[in-house]
């Protein structure tokens, strides 16, 4: 675990360097991207911090977010997860894994008629809750589901 932490801290440094490179114009991001990559949220090491930095803090538990994931994932490197929000006015959706070195997996923003649904494959270091949080009508909502992992997918 300490090994993992040290490695992660090292990694946080390189991500910071990339952000600096982007800021100084060394690496120009494509103009179509609406916002700069949320470095602070993606490098947060605990769930609370990640939720806050991604703007999903203070979320109310909601059963209207339906998460589909296996109960037991044999391989943590590839865990299929899909989520649908039945909350009207859902504009964005983020996936968090409590016990990953970096809990925020991804943040999706929907526009121009895209349904509040995402299907993807994520990495899980070990057995953990998978949380899906959404923003709808100026409020945050969250739902969770446990996935047991028999072989972790984040090294260490």
């Amino acid at each position: 675990m300490n090994q993992l932490r040290r490695a992660f801290l090292k990694n946080a440094g390189t991500v910071g360097a990339v952000a600096v490179a982007i800021a100084t114009g060394l690496l120009k991001p494509i103009t179509v991207f609406a916002a700069a990559w949320n470095t602070s949220a993606f490098t947060s090491k605990d769930l609370g911090e990640a939720l806050k930095n991604a703007g999903y803090d203070g979320a109310a538990e909601s059963s209207d977010i339906v998460i589909k994931a296996p109960d037991i994932a044999e391989n943590g490197a590839v865990v299929p997860v899909s989520a649908t929000s039945n909350i009207p006015g859902t504009t964005s959706m983020a996936i968090f894994v409590d016990k990953n070195p970096a809990p925020l997996i991804a943040d999706f923003t929907f526009s121009n008629g895209t349904e509040p649904y995402i299907s993807t494959r994520i990495k899980m270091a070990k057995t953990s809750l998978v949380r899906v949080s959404v923003k709808a009508g100026g409020k945050n909502y969250i739902s969770s589901r446990e996935v047991k992992v028999t072989i972790g997918g984040c090294g260490g």
Binding site: A7, K10, S111, G113, C154, G156
Partner: protein, 104 residues
């Protein structure tokens, strides 16, 4: 890289069901190379944007927790057969990945 991105979009009622597969190592920066015992530097796609006929329909930011060779599926309401859906992605080293598909 010509084959880096594969896309499919099919109509399901009034919704286009879009599936995207991108070839990418998605290195977290936490794993060691077993031969050299050195950390493999982080290398992952961190931004993905999908457009329908040029209008943004999905704007995503990814961390290192998306699995290798990323897959995403999403559903665009109001799309019609013949519409064009494009996906642009970029990784943390600035490499770009683009794909386009006509809704069937």
């Amino acid at each position: 890289m010509a084959e880096a991105m594969k896309m499919r979009a099919t109509m399901d009622g009034d919704v286009a069901d879009v599936k995207v597969l991108i070839q990418h190592p998605m290195d977290t920066g936490l794993m060691k190379d077993k031969k050299t015992d050195k950390l493999i530097p982080a290398h992952f796609i961190n931004q993905v944007v999908a457009t329908l006929n040029g209008k943004t329909v999905l704007d995503a930011q990814w961390g290192v927790g998306i699995a290798q060779n990323p897959f995403i599926g999403f559903r665009v309401k109001g799309a019609k057969a013949g519409d064009k859906i494009a996906v642009n992605a970029v990784d943390n080293l600035g490499a770009k990945f683009d794909g386009e598909v006509v809704v069937a």
